[in-house]
Amino acid sequence: MANHANAMNKVKILVVGDSGVGKSSLVHLICHGQCLSNSSWTIGCSVEVRVHEYREGTPSQRPYFVELWDVGGSNSHKNARHVFYNPVHGIILVHDLTNRKSQQNLRRWLSEILLREGGGTKSRIPLVDDFDAEQFGGFSQVYGMKKLPVFVVGTKQEQVAEFRTSGRVRSSSIADECAADEITVNTLDQRSLAPGSSNAVRLSRFFDKVIERQQTTTSRTDGGFSYLERENPMFRRNKATSSFVVTG
């Protein structure tokens, strides 16, 4: 079984958002199909794994491991979070529908991930507070990164009726700007992500997109090495084959 686990391919998706929006509940719901009964603030990063059937229903169906890295959102741990950001193949942005500020803060989260991922251990990069869709594309060019697939989730859907006078919930602007798919869930209800529901279908489509992107980029230069391995002087870049070679 251990061999089987190592032989299967995997992708890594970051789940980020402000503190208290419901990331841990969401991840638990996605991976275990059940609601999280005792939620507490996530310290550091909590990883859950889901076995996802890539291209389900087609002859080329293959199981993939989807690792959901649920990064704790408290501000006091900001300076050490960057170690989790590299490498990443997809991003799930989570915001609280009852708190509009958490939605606006998603931009900061996205820029934090993109800048830290490209910068390694550099800490002097000024974080950009607001940026527009052009800059999102611009980041890709400047930092030589692939455009990461993004998925936006709004939580606490059941509490929205208390706070909003208008019935419909406006779609978040960041989803439009990044051309990302968006769903709203109630993390206390198992049926939000029941297999076959539209939310679950969109989520599967997002996972497929992430896997496709990862497949096209593993043939590229960086080869998916983590930043730790890049920083280590033992790894030297072989210019001929553009791959990393262990020396010493």
Binding site: A5, N6, K10, S19, V49, V83, K101, T121
Partner: protein, 465 residues
């Protein structure tokens, strides 16, 4: 005519304070939350406005701006509104929010329960005054002396605790001798350990996920198969028991590893904080603060010593520093100065400085505290608690300020606040200051020692897998 101009000045300045407090609240404190309740948004700036108005009146008293009759009137207005807010309004809303946050309570009971809780709060508030020799017994139950005295006790406690903490913490954070050296290598080693731990966790979770999936599919296969039930039962028992055992041990290992990863992450956060402090210490600001830190630690040790002396020898009736300075200048150093003129200006300057630095320090501390403590559920309650604390803090600051002003300016405060035993408050301040400073020293010493020993043992630690 005079009173019209005075009213205009006062209302204008109070409007400015209100807007300032509101901007601070929206931009800094409630930065990450959406305000659902407009009342909460109003209370905080209102308390801030009333506090600043009190200080403004003190400054006007010293600088002799406005007529004394109108000053007294405004003192009464500000003080009464402050008292109503602090004792009646804010506690009621606090109880209301606290009760509605409890999930088990249904809608109709919320109002009743909040009134009851508020009643309990009022009784406790009254009982606070009993053990302290705060005031003489001539006053009736509903006089403002009763309420001010109790507010004063709480406010002075908060003030003294914060001063004690600040007095010890400031030298500790700004002086370089307390900072530990942290190299890039240390941080990278820590991060490598963290990522290795997480890799192991992920691998184990993958095995668990695969095992669970196989268990589900084999269960489905059994149900739809045509084998006899006993054969299927035997198979499932023998096949799943080694699986089941290893699954539960895997899950236990994962739980232990996750706890380890949390510890490693927190240590990594601490290392990054140390590195940032070291970087800051090499900047101009850092070096300046380091230099000032030496002076400040001298001042703090002197303050602690003086508090001890005050308590032990029960010193009463200290002269304010201005008059004392004047006496020294005139009698001992032989300066020939116009005492009246200079004492007014110097006390104006001194009191102004104290007020401004206290407000600024309080604002910064409050903001940081709110960021550290708040969450999306409790943000309303915390804002109200902070508004309450702020009101009590500033009222007691006015009370204690009396000692810093020369005799002729003290009368207005004595007049307005009533005949309280001011000496008690100073003694109480000294006691709490001493306790808080010593406690902070003890805690910082323990934390410093623990971090130093953990540094030494880190080099022995290596992951065993």
């Amino acid at each position: 005519m005079g009173i019209l101009i005075d009213s205009a000045i006062m209302t204008g300045s109070m409007l400015i304070f209100f807007i300032g407090g509101w901007m601070w609240f929206v931009k800094k404190i409630f930065r990450d939350y959406e305000v659902h309740n407009t009342l909460v948004q109003l209370f905080f700036p209102m308390i801030f406005m009333l506090s600043c108005a009190m200080f403004e009146l003190i400054i006007f008293e010293i600088a002799a701006v406005l007529e004394s009759g109108s000053r007294y009137l405004y003192w009464q207005v500000v003080l009464y509104s402050m008292l109503i807010m602090l004792i009646l309004v804010i506690p009621f809303y606090l109880c209301h929010f606290a009760v509605s946050n409890i999930r088990m309570v249904s809608r109709e009971w919320v109002n009743l329960l909040s009134v009851l809780t508020w009643g309990v709060f009022m009784v406790c508030f009254w009982k606070i005054g009993d053990p302290f020799p705060i005031l003489s017994t001539q006053h009736g139950i509903l006089s403002i002396e009763q309420s001010i005295s109790r507010i004063g006790v709480i406010g002075v406690t908060v003030m003294a605790a914060l001063s004690g903490f600040g007095a010890v913490n400031y030298p500790y954070t700004s002086m370089n001798i307390f900072m530990r050296p942290v190299t890039k290598h240390d941080i990278q080693a820590q991060e490598r350990r963290l990522l290795q731990t997480i890799d192991v966790i992920v691998n184990k979770k993958k095995r668990i996920a695969l095992a669970e999936k196989e268990r589900i599919t084999s269960k489905v296969g059994d149900e739809s198969g045509s084998r006899s039930r006993i054969w299927g039962l035997l198979r499932s028992v023998t096949a799943s028991s080694p699986q089941g055992e290893s699954l539960s041990t895997l899950k236990q290992e994962v739980a232990a590893l996750e706890e380890l990863s949390r510890q490693l992450f927190l240590e990594s956060v601490e290392l990054q904080n140390q590195r940032e402090r070291l970087e800051w210490a090499s900047t101009f600001q850092g070096r300046f603060f380091n230099f000032m830190g030496y002076f400040f630690s001298l001042y703090c040790s002197w303050k602690i010593f003086i508090s001890l002396v005050n308590i032990v020898f029960d010193r009463v009736g200290r002269k304010d520093p201005v008059t004392k300075g004047m006496e020294i200048a005139v009698h001992w150093l032989g300066f020939d100065i116009d005492v009246q003129f200079w004492s007014q200006h110097i006390s104006f300057f001194l009191v102004g400085c104290i007020i401004l630095t206290s407000i600024r320090g309080f604002i910064l501390t409050l903001t940081r505290f709110f960021y550290a403590v708040s969450s999306s559920k409790s943000s309303n309650i915390i804002v109200l608690v902070l508004a309450q604390l702020m009101g009590m803090y500033f009222v007691s600051m006015v009370m204690l300020m009396r000692m810093n002003m020369p005799l002729e300016y003290r009368t207005i405060i004595t007049q307005v606040l009533g005949d309280l035993q001011f000496h008690f408050y100073h003694r109480w301040f000294d006691v709490i200051f001493l306790v808080s400073a010593l406690t902070t020293m003890g805690i910082l010493y323990l934390a410093h020692k623990q971090v130093n020993t953990s540094d030494k043992t880190e080099s022995f630690y290596e992951p065993k897998w």
